[in-house]
Amino acid sequence: MNASVSAFMANLLIMVQKNIKLLLRAKSSALIVIGGPLFIILFAGIAFDHTNIYAVSIGAFSPSYNDLSNSFLERLSEKNFKVVRYPDAESCRDAIKKGEINTCAVFSKDFALAKEGANELSFFVDYSQINLVWTIVNTMTERVTARSIELSENLTSIVLNALDYSRLAVTESRPDVITLTTENDEIGRRVVNIQSELSEIELGLDPNEFAVSNLSKKKASVKHWIDNSLGIAKESLDESVSFIDATDELVQGSAAGGTIGQELLSKFIESVDEINALKGRLDDTELLVNQEFGELQIIIDTIIGKITQTKAIVDHANSVKEFSVDELDSINKLLDKSLVNILDVQKTLNSVEKTISSIEVKDASSIVQPIITTIKPVVAEKSYLNYIFPTIVSLILMFTALLLAPTLIMLEKNSPAYFRNYMTPAKKITFFLSIFLTCIILLSVQVLIILGIAGVFFSEVLVSLPSIVLVMFLGMTLFTGIGMIVGYGFTSEETAILGSISLGSVLLFLSDIIIPVESMPHWLGSIVSLNPVILVGELVRKTAVFGLPFSALGIDLLTLAFSGVVAIAFALVVYYGTEPRFIQKALSKVFKK
């Protein structure tokens, strides 16, 4: 290192030392510029080091409170929300305007579940509280949805129970259906058998086959022959008698008459008697025969009648059989059809059972929320500080640099010593660099404190420390450059601070802190995405929160570096451009009379 460089560095260091002393001794500046951001990080740490929402007041109105609406409100009360009931919706909404409450929940009349027109729960919010409204909306939606889900789960459980019961019933009834199928089949088979049997039964009855007429004929023939026999018998008897009489006469007339004759005669007489007896018996017999034949005729007639009757019956039976066969055929067909139906029923029941069984999700909560949209942080969540840390860092860097650089520059430019500094042979660039270096040193102190705090919350910080340091340095460079542009561009401390605050506000409003970049018009979003607050915030998020390595920072890092160089270069141009004006001002100060 040659002498001029070493002299330059010595000058630079003593100027930095002087800047820090001046800043620290200007107590108000030191407090605002150095202490302010540290207080911010402290308060932010305290304020956001939790995951709850405190002190949110909810107004409520229902034309008719019931168990359901009360349960909603009780649920909200349990979650640290202050619930205030209002007599009407108008006063509830007015309370939001007065700032008494943050949101107003209006229940529809007779608030009820799944009842059209009565299941509406409206939340009124004040969108002017843009930073709070989404939290409230999200929280309310979360809480109400939780209750709605709870109720839906109850309803779904009932449906699921019914389905389960149905499935069990179907399962249990399946053997019966199978039995029914089997029995139906058996019945069908039997019906076929019966039909077959019936079909085989010959119920044809031909009276002729009974030869009733022959019977009569035979009866007549028999009677004839009996009558003939009887006539013969009678004739025989008559002949016998005639013979006997003839004999008797002969006997009587013959010598043989005497004992023998007598005997003969007696015999004759006896025979005649006997023959007469026989004749009598024949007559009786004939009478009986006639009687019997009469009866036989009656019987035969009866038989014939019966046969006729039987034939009619048989004919009827036959027709009945025919009908029965037909009916059985119909029955069989019906049974077949029934069997098909039963099989269909069985199939349907199987399908129902299968369908019910195939419902894998049987948990009511899973059905109510088939997709559980759990939004989880990509890093372990500890508190809100996780979410706002990059933004806070970016804002602190921005506001500190925007206040620090102009303050230091104004301390220098408005100092009575400005004139004497100009008188020295120290290079102009030394003064510029001393301001830059002082800002970087003071910002580094703050960043160290911030990283110290961050280290408590994000272990990634330690892992990706080199990346974070680089990002922080580039961020500090960029914001310091911007602050120096403001500092050198303005004449008085007041206007410079106003300029810084205004610029800071513009950068704040045109960042994604208040309004998401994605919600801006495309052309504006493209510009706003180059906002240093966003650039630095994004890179801090990637490094400190996600622990991404240096290589993963890509184009954002290059953009930040380039922006920093441009800012410093522009600040240098402004410095050289405005220096004559400030020298003149310094001269007018020291020479004023």
Partner: protein
Amino acid sequence: MVPALDSASLKATLLNAGWPDSLVSEYNELIENEPKLPASIILTGITKSFEGKSVLNGVNFTIAPGELFGIIGLSGAGKTTLLNILVGFLQPDAGTIFLRLPNGQDVELEKKLELVKRMVGFSAQHPSFYPKLTVRENIEHFSALYQVPLEQRRELSTMLIRGVGLDGSENVLAQNLSGGMQKRLDIACAMVHRPKILILDEPTADLDPLIRAQLWKLIRAINSQGTTIIVASHFIGELERNCSKIAVLNHGIIADVDSVDGYRKKNGNLYEITLEPSGSRNELLEILKSHKNYERLVQRGNKVVLYTSSPKKALSELVALSSDAGIKMKSVKLDKPSLAELVHNLMSP
């Protein structure tokens, strides 16, 4: 012109000025290795206008090495503009300022601003230092900017603090110093690089007489080391008592440049008659209206001062007139006029 001092003379002068023995030795040592003083500062035809209004119009004069040079002029005379040009803050519209080096080489100031910065120290009417730094910090800061080696910075600051009489206040914040002390500190800051030329603008303005005397003692002590000092002041009496040469600047023009003795010689026939009436001066002023044997009349309290080149005649007439008018004189004094009056005459139209 104050002659360049050798080491022995310098030491004696510094000791005379009340500097401690050890400090004188240290300072003497420090300046041993410095380049020799420039021969002189030469202004030739310096002209400067602002928005068409001429402020300096062909200013010419030469300041010899080691001189304690005074510049006097009324407000708006162009003193400040001239000083600005001398320290290089302003560029003249015409004319040149040369630093004539001991080897006879003339260096154009405008083209050698860096050299000017190293050779010239400047203390304006209003101090130029950091109010929030202590006395020592201020001196060390500026000495660092003048690239005084770190190892010498401490002793230099100690020496300067003692030299300007701020010992005991070295750790006091500059803003807490009194006006005189602040002026001393400002001069110390202007001296950190041991300038060969020290320009002081109204060094004693706003200071009480005792402090002014102390400050002039300091200026003389510095001058006695061989530092050329240019003082712009409206306290003509102080310039008269301390400066070896005085330039009278009047409406952008150097009315004259001379030593106090030179001025007196140039105005050797002018006398000052101071009349103090017993009663009101109004009657005296009435009779003086008819008395025309004087160049100028000035009222100072109840006194009436007349400037005349024929004092005897004027006095006899005045005595006669006052006796006739019955005006009794409490005192009558005849003296040579002060430089102020001479300068006033130069600046009068």
